[in-house]
Symmetry: C2
Subunit: 322 residues, 2 copies
């Protein structure tokens, strides 16, 4: 019995001395970090007027430029370029057709119109079944490196945002990705990287159809953009997939403006945050006028409507995943 | 210290004597109940060859005729009929236009074509913002009664299926509704009734657009069917919303055939189940040729592909929620 008592006491003491890691450790002390903590505290405290029921604790995150980097081009484009090389033998005309000829020579295509880009995505993202596409995306992601940093793309996710995702989940917020990127592309790698399951990823979507081919039921991907989950498409994507207005929303560009606006306009406590890319040493500095992740109107609106703005250079101790 | 020891012992003993309620108590002992239990056991046992990781444990349920009754008409139709009465004063021409004239006289419209039905849904389900629609659906559901049983519709959910949902969730299956019904209609009441959150409900969908009206950001519902989550639409709805092929699927009609087929055809252990309405005393008996919930081709395929078939009369001790 003595042994049992000792065991119980040791176990109890041991248990109480486990201390939690400091939340948001990579965020500098200051207004922004405090704003996050205050908001989470008041919305999860039963005695607060701003308490939010667990079922309504929805937090949505843009991906490109918000959870990971997006320069010098959206990372999904690098996947598309690599696929062009793999598909070249079945498309001999690409040797003499732009932008494919440039891509096959290993050059970044210089001037691609929106229509060129959509055509490139259709050529490289459709025509196969869903399992085959997932295999290609996973396989690319496991080997690919960023052209400038030489890091795997999955290491170019932001450490402060990983901590924020964990912090919110510890407080029973359900975290979703709501991105202009392709939903099936993200689902191939984002669950392992962010701890966000496939069914909590909302994105742009190509059309698909159900078919039984050679006795095998499957989803076939069709060369048509069905839903563009960007700008005013983001609130619609959220409404269709989640059915609730989020309580917290995080973005970094004018493509996130409507999502942040809609979130902040909900009844009760709401939190909208913009990540402002201000660090040209550790990452990239850009906003208004940037072709990728342009930020202008949303930054003005942030001031008028009290959205929280992260100054990456000032507010983040580290940038990339540690 | 003695007190502490006593306390610990009593607490431990008390703890071990808590016994779980028998799972699936409303299911008759027999092949069907055993098939469910065996499948769940083998897919959640780490030492089984059929073990399924928690992240892949997706179980999808049709709603009408699978989780609740669907006779003499889909319950959402009764909501639409009630809305016609509410909207009549703004539509004076309805007094002389069919099917509205019949509906306003309190008669079930006799012969409605598919086009009539879609028009009726558009008139009664769109033109307002998302919050207003949810309010109308919730308000109707809290007061409405079934025309034959006189029960609230939310009490016409099947007790054995409620137990099955709980049983699966206790084994870390994530449960989803995948219904031909309107997703926004279901989201207004299904979370409280089935314990399935709004974001795990997939359904048919009308188009909507994001608008700022009088300074208020909102989602406006448009009179256009955007996605029909029925038949071959079900696997597509699942792929778009969840991004994974389910491990278990439950349906009751030919509208569920493709969902059950696609699920069962996946690699590894898969389970597809049909609920066969065979009980004309306690519920309704119908299959082939029924206008609502017709079941013919799927029942044949169930035999060929070893789907499990529930005989409601034989396999369920009780029908409705107790």
């Amino acid at each position: 019995m003595k042994l049992l008592i000792s065991f119980i006491l040791v176990f109890s003491l041991g248990f109480t001395t486990i201390t939690k890691a400091e939340p948001l450790a990579s965020w500098q002390e200051g207004e922004v970090k405090q704003a996050i903590i205050n908001f989470v505290k008041k919305t999860t405290d039963r005695n607060s007027n701003d308490f939010v029921a667990v079922t309504d604790r929805i937090a949505v995150f843009d991906n490109d430029g918000t959870l990971w980097a997006e320069q010098p081009a959206y990372f999904q484009l690098f996947f598309a370029l690599e696929q062009v090389k793999k598909l070249a033998k079945d498309n001999p005309d690409w040797k003499t057709t732009q932008p494919y000829a440039d891509i096959l020579k290993g050059n970044m295509p210089a001037h691609m119109s929106e229509a060129d880009l959509v055509a490139l995505v259709m050529k490289t993202h459709t025509g196969m079944n869903s399992d085959e596409f997932t295999k290609r995306a996973s396989s690319w992601m496991s080997a690919a490196k960023h052209p400038i940093t030489k890091k795997p793309f999955t290491e170019m996710v932001y450490q402060p945002m990983l901590e924020l995702l964990s912090y919110l989940r510890e407080h029973d917020y359900k975290t979703f990705i709501v991105s202009g990127g392709g939903v099936e592309f993200m689902r191939a790698w984002a669950p392992a990287v962010y701890g966000i399951p496939a069914e909590q990823i909302v994105g742009s979507r190509i059309a698909s159809e159900y078919k039984v081919i050679d006795g095998k039921p499957q989803i076939v991907r069709l060369p048509k953009l069905e839903f563009n989950n960007d700008k005013a498409g983001k609130p619609i994507g959220i409404y269709n997939a989640i059915g609730k207005r989020p309580v917290m929303a995080f973005g970094n560009s004018d493509g996130d403006r409507e999502m942040l606006e809609w979130t902040k306009a909900g009844a009760g406590a709401r939190f909208s945050m913009l990540i402002h890319h201000t660090d040209d040493k550790r990452e990239w500095a850009y906003d208004k006028g940037s072709k990728i992740g342009g930020l202008d109107k949303a930054l003005q609106q942030a001031k008028q409507e009290s959205w929280t703005v992260v100054d990456m250079k000032k507010d983040w101790k580290v940038i990339y995943k540690q």
